[in-house]
Amino acid sequence: MPDWEAFVRRRASSGPPLSDDAIEELADHVEETYRAALAAGLTEGEALEAARAELDEESVRSSGESEPTPRIGAFLPRWNAARRQLQRVNNDLLSDSRYGIRVATRSPWMALAACLSVAIGIGGATAAFSLLDAAVLRQWPYPRADRLVVLSTNVSQYFSAPAFRRLADTDVGLDHLAAVEAHAFVIDLAGQAVLVHGQRISSPGLALLGLDGALRPRLGRPFLPSEFAPGTAPVLLISHRLWQRSFASSEDVIGRNLTVDGRSARIIGVLPPQFEFFPDGDILTPLSLTGPGTYDEFDRHLEVFGSVRPGVQSSEVVWWLTSLTRTFHPSQTPAVESVRERMFRSVVPTMRVLTLVSFVILAVCGLNFATLLTVRAAERRRELAIRIALGAHRARLVRQLMTEGMVLAILGGMVGAAVAQVGRGLVVGSATEGILSADAGLDWQAFTFAALLTVAAGALFSIVPARRAVAAVDLETEIKGSAAVEGLALARPRWFSSTWLASSIQLALTMALLIGAALLVKSLGRVEAFNPGYDSANAVTLRLDLPASTYPTDADVARFENDVRGQLAAVPGVDDIGSASSLPYTVGALQMRMLTFELPVQVSGSPEAMPFGWRVPPPPPPAPGMAGLPAIDFHPALSCEVGPFFFRAMRIPILSGREFTTFDTATSTPVVIINRKMAERYWPGVNPIGRRVRLGPLYPWKTIVGVVENVRRFARDDAVRSEYYEPFAQAGDERRVTEALGGLPASFAWRYATPSPLMFVVRTRLGPRAVSSAATRIVHEVDPALPIVEVSTLRDALNNAVAERRFLMAHVVAFAALALLLGLGGIYAVTAQAVGARTRELGIRAALGAKASQLVWVAIRDGLVVTSIGGSVGLLIAMVLAPQLGAFLYNVSPWDVHTYAVVTVVMIPVVISAAWVPARRAAHVDPLIALKSL
């Protein structure tokens, strides 16, 4: 008799593959047919023919079978099998999940702790991711985002108009080279003068930033080429923000005329909301680089942006630029920097620390989760054993435990996403400008990240405990309940078991986080305790910007200052009042000037670094008739104009000499006051009072009449620089000299077109609001068109400066506290479980006469060994990671012994108490119960 299966296989080989079951079935059928044929008396050949006919498609058709696709069905068994398998897994999954939830509700605290640890881990990581995403990863809306560069030189980040024209006329591998001039516009909004920051931009800027294409204005149109010509009617684009805030998102804003810097300008468009290239810019106007005022080589005020041409390396651009500048300014070296990089440079250190911290916390949470699952699985060992005894596959049990773990993880993950949402709100809320833009939204990207992370972490941290728990089940011990075996076998428990390992790693990471947090707290404490050089308490500050149109000269500014100061001083409750062109930690008009001294000075110390990348400029051009004179030594110093009794109002100590008074006027002897740093640098060991300084040969000599204490201007950890102060009434040397030399060059018109900042510091116990209302009234009386830009306090200005530190510190501390909480929970759970497992052993010990304290010691001894190893490893981890905090540590070494010691000393009792609470139960083990169960 033929091999029917082979027969079927052969016949079926032309069609789709058949499953083994189907072949078996068909073979059976064919065989039956064959047998029936033989039984009916056919010959063997005829029977074989009949059998063959069973599988013959021709015969199928001729037999009138209505289904025309006989072999397709052969697929079905396989497919069905796969589907059934899937269904089974699916059903298992559902029932396991349901079971998991039931088990979870049976030990709610454990479940809650597990959920919470996932929630915290996922929440932290997601929040960090969404910040990172917003700050670094997100696509920029500008068409050439990745190729946008900003140019600078070693002298300045600003270029003069002639220098820009040379750049634009030469091919240096850059496209759409655009000049941008920052400008503070005074606009008239419904009769009220308001200061609005904005930019002037040259025509290629439109294409560079995509304003003519991808980023067309939300309303209206971009600038026309003709509007860049000098002398055309002024037009402006306003930001989406300004449009919403000041124009109530009204569509008919287009075509409206606005008084800007005293001139009428027409609004032609509203920028799209995603245009944030100039973070503080609310107005964009065309910049013309021809015409008067654009020929001064030394008037550097333009920022230059461009896009690197595709296929060109930025190093090539630098090479071209170098060869160009060599011709004109041999001492300068140009540099090219990616705009994106520059924007995010300040954010990167914070982000790096936050990301690091959030991943450490994720690991801590994951380990905690795994520990809790393991502990729980250990408690359920008997249940598992019974299941195995009843025939459950071990793999199936692993799957069930994993599913239960995943249920908790997913619950936790959902809470975590919510935590991230809240966390994000806090982050954005507490972040001041410079840390992050407000657009750090929790989006789908971050949500997907959270979901993937949850599943990955949940699977990772639940598969290990599940596998171990199931593998550890010993039917003999569990089912027979052979207490003697268990109790005595565990007399020396494996204290390097996975749970102890997990909780010691957790403790190590927690320790590292705590040390990081402690270092940051200490650093912030030092920063806050630092004396800025003045008294920041009870001092309200006012800022005004005097537009150049109404206050063209320094004399006008001085007159206004005098009027307002006089009236403010008369307000009841005001103790002292001072004024300055710049106050510490605020934006003002601090200038870097080059001074020369009447008598030669011995300069001590290395050259001073100036703030904001200001660099010592090349000497000024020789004035007419001055060429050929010997070179003069110029020394850089920051300068600031102040009013009478400024130092008293600021409570800045006067070290020697006197304060400016109302007798220092435009006609009296020109005087200056220098800071201690300058006195020590140029007149070490000599009294500088009576020495004279000036800006150059054509400038008047100014006599030093006082030395005051150093003041931190920019940051508490910033270097102190040489500074001098001059009275408002005597300011304006440059202008007077240039006027004396034959009028004001057009370039000065550029510079003086910007408003002069004027700040008042009001020493008072009145709150800012009271001062603000009085000041508003007074300023309005003196000049009705002038807005008060800002009311603040010296304290707030100081606090804002440490906002970033505070922000980071708060986060690391919060994370460290959470990690500690979780870690203690873990230690508690593990000790509790260990004590539970050793009840019988402890009972025997008690029966043999061990004292309670000895029992406790036995119970926690192993835990302490492990945790102390964990803690030491944590110290090592902290030592490795602490330098990452480098930039945020002020006067604190990353390896500050004191901090490490304090954290360690504090941790010891905390950890012991976490283990001690459950261990105390060991002392109350009843020997009778323990022995009875033998």
Binding site: D21, A22, E24, E25, L26, D28, H29, V30, E32, T33, A36, A53, E54, L55, D56, E57, S59, V60, S63, E65, E67, T69, P70, R71, I72, G73, A74, L76, P77, W79, N80
Partner: protein
């Protein structure tokens, strides 16, 4: 096929034989068309196949009617009887 399975579960060859017998050889199923049909019906949930092993015999797949198959059969039956009655009337077969 459904009606053949109505009384009790049967294996494929049995089904084919029974249909041939009951129709007096008018309806015959070859294996090549019967099994795909059975698999399809199984996929639709009308019948369910189960491997049955008996001592000293090779294992066979027995097909039984599922509740859904029963419902389907009832539906088809009423459909057929209406159809056949109509056909009979239209073709005047009764009077032939």
């Amino acid at each position: 096929v459904l009606s053949v399975l109505e009384e009790r579960p049967r294996h494929g060859y049995d089904i084919a034989k029974l249909i041939a017998q009951r129709s007096n050889g008018v309806l015959t199923f070859h294996a090549a068309s019967l099994y795909p049909l059975l698999y399809r019906m199984e996929a639709r949930g009308w019948i369910q196949g189960r491997w049955v092993e008996k001592p000293a015999q090779r294992r066979r797949r027995h097909y039984s009617l599922t509740p859904r198959g029963r419902k389907e059969l009832a539906k088809r039956r009423s459909g057929w009887s209406v159809f056949i009655a109509a056909l009979t009337r239209v073709a005047g077969l009764d009077h032939a």
